[in-house]
Amino acid sequence: MPMATASSSLHGTAAALHGVGAAASSKPRSAAPVARSVRVAAAARGSGSARARGGMVARAAVAANAVAAAESKSGGHELLLFEALREALIEEMKADPTVCVFGEDVGHYGGSYKVTKGLAEMFGDLRVLDTPIAENSFTGMGVGAAMKGLRPIVEGMNMGFLLLAYNQISNNCGMLHYTSGGQFKIPIVIRGPGGVGRQLGAEHSQRLESYFQSIPGLQMVACSTPYNAKGLMKAAIRSENPVVLFEHVLLYNLKEKIPDEEYICCLEEAEMVRPGEHVTILTYSRMRYHVMQAAKTLVNKGYDPEVIDIRSLKPFDLHTIGNSIKKTHRVLIVEECMRTGGIGASLRSSIIDNFWDYLDAPIMCLSSQDVPTPYAAPLEDATVVQPAQIVAAVEQICQ
């Protein structure tokens, strides 16, 4: 079955009304991928207290017509992923004067990956703040500002550097809402590029989503397309909880057409990328593209994989994942994290706890090697999961 990349407005509408669960219902499978989970922001944006709660709000779908625009040929505009992130920042900063950005070189330099380009000129030095090189301290500064009422977005030039901020993230970000008895909240967004790039060396190629996963009080999401990058960024900014948004160094230049209308993506929802029947492939961030590449090969070989971009790393969207497992009974996890203690390890254990009875085969997990990312290209390629391995794994699972 060929994979269409555009769906008709009818399918888009259906997806909006039923959410991602649509793919797992008994609705006959169409030739088109179901639109990703969409929540169109209400036209009237209220004051802070009426902000869309980024928390665990019921998944009421809205405005099917507006959703249709996302998939229709007219309207929408094309941009790169880093521009989508920037668009989200600009929209939120325009709407809410308490939103501000802290980080190294985010101001006049525009950010190392140009995510904050132009923001300093638009909003001034006070709201787009260049900080000295002290990650723990500007993250701490973000915590203090958030406790006082601002909504800071802290950029780590590379997620690996945010390990220096781990003290503030774990001991304060995650904790202070709880230990203060709810008196102080920390609506901070911590974001930055991570993952294995192209020969950037070990310190700049860290896969450390799982390092933060255990911290109580944090939410974690990983974006992978311009559409969900913008949606997740907006949702993260509006959330009252501290959110860590993982971007990937190699995905910043992805191009996609996104709606002109305002929208946000739900922080806790996974994204159905390709519905299927034979096996559930759970992935996120860059590995999504390796999976989709493998899916082409698999489809030619007669397999029908269901691909879900889990997007929400903490908490997992067990609703979507569960519905898929109940349908396919086989699970393959493809992640960029290390084998030991990675996101995959924890996801696997969640699935076993919740969906053991629905599994027909052991869960397979393809992770990166337990090595620091080497510099040499062939070594680096061998460190992360490649499409060929994904194909082989699916063949093995589906025996």
Binding site: N136, F138, G217, P315
Partner: protein, 479 residues
């Protein structure tokens, strides 16, 4: 090696030597008079743009300080044409010297300490300080006494096993109360943990203190933190977080927020001599200076970080000298002199707010008590040292002498106050002790703004487990 290093000017050598040899002369030249309240001249801003007036305008335009022009740089490089005496460098011009001159590791004299009251509670002649009304003076005194009694009784309660942990502020009552008195309720306080007096001053009741220490259902922290980790958003006192010095960058952030809101308020953050070794100390001071954030960094130099004396904590002359390294104005005060602390914080606050700058205040004091109830400080320091500071240098008795000397206080007032505070405290402890603990539902709330499904699931499993095996769980904990 760049040619400019070997070109010098003897005039500059002499100037440098003068600076080293007569510190008082240098200081006079350098600092504005700190105690002329309304007439403190703002330090001329060498780097500000032409934008005049507005309190908060100086940061809205991007500034590059003293960019070196290409011409000047190349002149310096190719041999100082025309006898160049200085280098045009980012940050300002730098003069050359012919001789190598290593800045000494310390000044010949330690930085002076501002003091108003002598050991007998009399104002030192010629001292300049912020006047206090009788009402304010008495409130300060009675809160210092209250703090002392509160500490004593809670400490005893821990020894009796009624609370699990406590730490006292013995010896630092003047710092606690006098600094709080100099602030407004809108100023945001970010404490370390030895500053409950600031919260007391602002109106936290003895019952509220007791509730937190007992972690009962009336605790604003909902029983989630160990004793003395108070917090009150209503009183602008950020919840205490144990890791040392993490609150310093928070203070910069909070001050930054005040600046964005253009509020007539500052942030103040407290830390000990030990806290100055943390990385967060260095970065927070640097940030605050660069960002021109209105923060008061208040260092309680009490001589000891658990068992580490200051000689093993740093080799600088305390914390005060470090301010200048970050481009920050700083002052050293006698931490056991209530009027000195009050005056210094009053002025520091004004400077912070009107000039939009951070100030470093180092208060010299002594930690009379043990670090906490988990410590026995006689193991690492001489008992007579402790006794000396507990008696001869007690800030409360010193201040009392001044208050009594003004005819504002008598011995009978003293015993009446002490008795009533003691009674109120014992009562508060009894009430707090009998109050039930938070229910198990509070185990899972406030981790996020709303309880997510995974935590609801965990709560359900816990509830089921308790239902199935009630004998395994304490009977008095409500589910």
């Amino acid at each position: 090696m760049a040619p400019w290093l070997v070109r010098t000017s003897s005039q500059l050598v002499r100037r440098a030597a003068r600076r080293l040899l007569s510190p008082s002369q240098h200081r006079r030249h350098r600092a504005p008079a700190p105690w002329k309240l309304c007439s403190v001249p703002p330090v001329p801003r060498t780097t500000s743009p032409a934008a005049g007036g507005g309190l908060w305008e100086f940061c809205s335009v991007r500034r590059f300080t003293g960019d070196s022009s290409p011409a000047a740089a190349s002149t310096a490089e190719d041999g100082l044409a025309g006898g160049e005496l200085e280098l045009d460098f980012p940050g300002g011009k730098v003069s050359f010297v012919a001789e190598m001159n290593f800045l000494p590791e310390s000044q010949k004299e330690r930085i002076n300490c501002y003091r108003v009251l002598d050991d007998d509670g009399r104002t030192v002649s010629g001292s300049k300080f912020q006047e206090v009304s009788k009402e304010m003076a008495l409130k300060m005194y009675s809160e210092m006494v209250t703090l002392q009694i509160m500490d004593t009784i809670f400490y005893e309660a821990q020894r009796q096993g009624r609370i699990s942990f406590y730490l006292t502020s013995h010896g630092e009552e003047a710092i606690n109360i006098a600094s709080a008195a100099a602030l407004s309720i809108d100023d945001i306080v970010l404490p370390q943990y030895r500053e409950p007096g600031v919260l007391l001053w602002r109106g936290f009741t003895l019952q509220e203190f007791a509730n937190q220490c007992f972690g009962n259902s009336l605790d604003y922290g909902k029983g989630r933190q160990m004793p003395i980790h108070y917090g009150s958003n209503r009183l602008n006192y950020f919840t205490v977080s144990s890791p040392i010095a993490t609150q310093l960058p928070h203070a910069v952030g909070a001050a930054y927020s005040l600046k964005m809101d253009k509020k007539e308020a500052c942030a103040i953050t407290y830390f000990g001599d030990g806290g100055t070794s943390e990385g967060d100390f260095h970065a927070a001071l640097n940030f605050a200076a660069v960002m021109e954030a209105p923060v008061i960094f208040f260092c309680r130099n009490n001589g000891w970080a658990i068992s580490t004396p200051t000689a093993e904590q740093f080799r600088s002359d305390g914390a005060v000298v470090r301010g200048q390294a970050y481009g920050m104005r700083s002052i050293r005060v006698d931490g056991n002199d209530a009027l000195a602390v009050y005056s210094a914080v009053h002025i520091a606050r004004e400077m912070a707010i009107t000039e939009g700058r951070p100030i470093l205040v180092e208060a010299l004091t002594y930690r009379v008590g043990h670090h906490s109830t988990s410590d026995d400080s006689t193991k690492y320091r001489p008992v007579d040292e402790i006794e000396h500071w507990r008696t001869a240098r007690d800030p409360i008795s010193r201040y009392r002498k001044w208050v009594q000397g003004n005819g504002w206080w008598s011995d009978s007032d003293e015993s009446e106050l002490r008795n009533s505070v003691r009674q109120e405290l014992l009562q508060a402890i009894q009430v707090a002790e009998r109050m039930p603990k938070p229910p198990l539902t509070e185990l899972f709330t406030d981790v996020y703004d709303e309880i997510p499904s995974n935590l609801r699931e965990q709560e359900r499993l816990l509830r089921d487990a308790i239902k199935k095996h009630p004998a395994d769980y304490p009977a008095d904990v409500r589910v």
